[in-house]
């Protein structure tokens, strides 16, 4: 009886249920999405943590199940590209700060 009940519950879950909903079932960190092999810390010249998953959820981001693989792939590339051209990026960030002040 137990098995039957569990199976029914699983098949009635919407396929594109968001992680926001799943959060109550234990999905609350980036590791829950990216897995252990994709560390939360990424390279940005030096190690820098990605903002908390909860802060994204609070700002209205929705993480559908079918985006997990996309995020995983991007996280791998981020390790390589995270600190790309820091000198140039720094220049542009300064420029943009000035622009925003205007």
């Amino acid at each position: 009886m137990k098995n039957t009940s569990s199976k029914t519950k699983s098949t009635t879950m919407p396929r594109n249920a968001t992680l926001f909903l799943s959060q109550k079932r234990g999905v609350s960190t980036w590791t829950d999405i990216l897995g252990d092999e994709h560390p939360i810390e990424i390279f940005e010249g030096k190690r820098k943590p990605i903002s908390n998953l909860q802060s994204y959820i609070q700002r209205g981001y929705k993480f559908s199940e079918n985006r997990k693989e996309e995020l995983k792939k991007a996280a791998i590339m981020k390790k390589f590209i995270g600190a790309l051209m820091p000198d140039i990026q720094e220049q542009f960030l300064i420029t943009r700060r000035i622009n925003f002040k205007k």
């Binding site: 990424i42 390279f43 940005e44 010249g45 990605i50 903002s51 994204y56 700002r59 209205g60 981001y61 929705k62 993480f63 559908s64 985006r67 996309e70 995020l71 792939k73 991007a74 996280a75 590339m77 981020k78 390790k79 390589f80 590209i81 995270g82 600190a83 790309l84 051209m85 820091p86 000198d87 140039i88 990026q89 220049q91 542009f92 960030l93 420029t95 943009r96 622009n99």
Partner: protein, 145 residues
């Protein structure tokens, strides 16, 4: 040098609204989607577009080894794996990156000019200029200037 126009349409804004800039900004946010027709595996960073991020990753490992992940600096330009973008594009990127999904969906459409170096054009499609022209002409988000 080939000049094109990138169109960040409402469709692009809607499809990229949930993009997590910190993780996937280069690969799945608005500008990366807008140029996907010509560079399906591109990575768009502040100040530079890498047409093929897999090529870059390999080169980065070759240059710096595992210890140097994410520290390739200007080597990418020297090896013709990336090209610079305009300040206007970067300003848009920062505006997009700091907006919420709801704000992104409400943003208005934008158009940006982009100069593609010849080596980058040769990475479009089969590398033939005629095919590149065909791909750009049939794209909903790209246009020749």
């Amino acid at each position: 040098m080939t000049k094109i126009k990138i169109k960040v349409t409402k469709d692009i804004l809607a499809r990229s609204a949930n993009c997590v800039s910190e993780i996937e900004g280069g690969a799945n946010c608005a500008l990366a989607l807008a140029i996907r027709d010509i560079f399906p595996d591109a990575n768009v960073q502040y100040g530079v577009i890498i047409p093929n991020q897999q090529d870059f990753a390999k080169a980065c490992l070759e240059i710096n080894g595992k210890e140097g992940l994410g520290m390739c600096n200007s080597e990418i330009i020297k090896r013709e794996l990336g090209f610079k973008t305009s300040g206007v594009i970067m300003t848009f990127m920062m505006y997009f990156d700091t907006s919420t999904p709801e704000q992104r969906e409400m943003m208005k459409e934008e158009e940006f000019k982009l100069e593609l170096p010849d080596w980058a054009v040769s990475k479009i499609g089969n590398g033939e200029i005629e095919e590149a022209k065909k791909i750009i002409s049939s794209s909903k988000t790209l246009e020749f200037v």
